[in-house]
Amino acid sequence: MWQRFAPALPANPWNWIAVWRRNFLVWRKVALASILGNLAEPMSSLFGLGFGLGMIIGGVEGTSYISFLAAGMVATSAMVSATFETIYAAYARMQTNCTWEAVLCTPLTLGDIVLGEVAWAASKALLAGTAITIVAVALGYAEWSSIPYALPAIALTGVTFASLAMVVSALAPSHDYFIFYQSLILTPMMYLSGTIFPMSQLPGSFQRIAALLPLTHSVDLIRPAMLGRPVDSVGLHVGALCIYAAFPFLVSAVLLRQRLMR
């Protein structure tokens, strides 16, 4: 049993770094375009909604609407960055460009590759989330002191959503199927998880569902940190995100083994 699944697991704690560094080397050549492209959408949402709706709404939960929204945009952009890197870029490396196939002929295992890809997607999520945090801080919508607390939460959000997206990649027969994950899972989750408006506005039953979603736990860690407030139930939120990261990672590794190593 163990031998059957050994190729789906990382062989050691450091093999994944070679996969991460390969992706970094390729990304470095298009870094500027990639950063600008990744930031344009969350920034326009932040300023468009923040200023536009902010004028109508006024304050939310004891702060300005744009400050409230900034944390939501940080969490959302981390989610979207990690997801897109996994379902589009990593999927292309697996399916179209056969990059994974080349790596499978080396001493690395499939688990090493999956871990390297998840770590890479999380790194891009960290970059996107951090960039928005810095802009928010520079414009006075968040505290400077919040950055050291927000970054680990952003990174964990990235790992979680990269892992979840890896399951989708493992199951998708072609990239045409990813739109369902985006429109049926990610977009509703964004509205339910208190990124754009407080969860307390939702009907009770929706609030109970929302409390289980990974993005809710990310927002509950990132928002208080950015607003310089104490974070409640850190252990619960971190634990929930870790479960949402670890379990899908294992599931995706087993599914990918069936897909690629038959």
Partner: protein, 304 residues
């Protein structure tokens, strides 16, 4: 522990209910070039995947470089270099960067990769392309880079899956020459191919496959001698089924494949004389080759 480079014993592989590899056994000794010859769909690439431990057999035992595969395939792969059927180089990276990235998968430091890069580029005749992006290289150059990349870990065993498919004759000859120099350096090569000429030129021994089964095994020249052992005349330009009865008395054996009549004869002149009045026909007289062996064993040509 086996001293063979590759040892397969009664290996079978099924996809759904289809048999892809059927109770196959063979042994590759260190330092030899062993060919797996067969048409597309014969199970050659599946065998390469089984040997690398990327796929698991449904029955039988595989041992590669002394390691049981797939159980310890990861360790075996430390000593293997692979040229896949389709290039999977990183197109956005340069030639040098491709080698660096691949070296890291074998836990090599940047300095170690840098130290071996010049000799690998020289081997691949890509010295002046070191900083070119792979997307700018020709098909032949990419193939040679893939071969150089396979040597980054100084492997004992090279697994080459149709290494010259899609190359022009010049590119093919250059790869063959490079492979012979590797054999001279004592490397073991396991080569899959559907090119008879490639198998004949390079392989010390080969295994002819059809539908995942071994239909012959041995040295190329011995196989040709055993199975054919006489001259061949190919006749084109007429209906081969009409020609067959005309030449039957003069030949030892004849096969029709497509538009061609293959005649196996000790005295080819007899056949020419018999058909001397047929100006519409074209004759090609040649020594026998592996193509004929395959045709004899399976009743059809390998070209597909």
């Amino acid at each position: 522990m086996s001293t063979a480079a590759v040892d397969l014993f009664q290996v079978s592989k099924f996809y759904d209910d289809r048999v892809v590899v059927d109770a196959l056994s063979f042994t590759v000794s260190p330092g030899e070039c062993f060919g797996l010859l067969g048409p597309n769909g014969a199970g050659k690439s599946t065998l390469a995947r089984l040997i690398l431990g990327v796929a698991s057999p449904d029955a039988g035992k595989i041992c590669v470089l002394g390691e049981p595969v797939p159980a310890r395939a990861r360790l075996a792969r430390r000593g293997i270099g692979v040229v896949p059927q389709f290039d999977n180089l990183d197109l956005q990276l340069t030639v040098r960067e491709n080698l660096l990235v691949f070296g890291r998968y074998f836990a090599m430091s940047a300095a170690e990769v840098k130290a071996v890069t010049p000799s690998l580029l020289e081997f691949a005749r890509l010295e002046n392309k070191a900083d070119a992006r792979v997307s700018e290289l020709s098909g032949g150059m990419r193939r040679r880079l893939t071969l150089a990349r396979a040597l980054i870990n100084d492997p004992q065993l090279l697994v080459l899956d149709e290494p010259t498919t899609g190359l022009d004759p010049h590119g093919r000859h250059l790869i063959w020459e490079r492979l012979r120099s590797l054999l001279a350096r004592g490397k073991t090569i396991l080569l899959t191919t559907h090119f008879m000429e490639e198998a004949e030129r390079l392989c010390d021994r080969l295994c002819v496959l059809e539908h995942g089964r071994k239909i012959a095994e041995g040295q190329p020249h011995a196989l040709i001698e055993q199975q054919i052992g006489c001259q061949v005349i190919e006749i084109y330009g007429g209906n081969p089924h009409e020609l067959l009865p005309l030449v039957r008395p003069q030949v030892q054996r004849a096969e029709v494949s497509g538009e061609t009549l293959f005649c196996y004869v000790t005295d080819p002149e007899q056949v020419r004389l018999r058909l001397a009045n047929r100006t519409d026909l074209r004759f090609l007289q040649r020594p026998p080759n592996l193509e004929d062996v395959f045709l004899r064993l399976t009743g059809r040509e390998i070209k597909d």
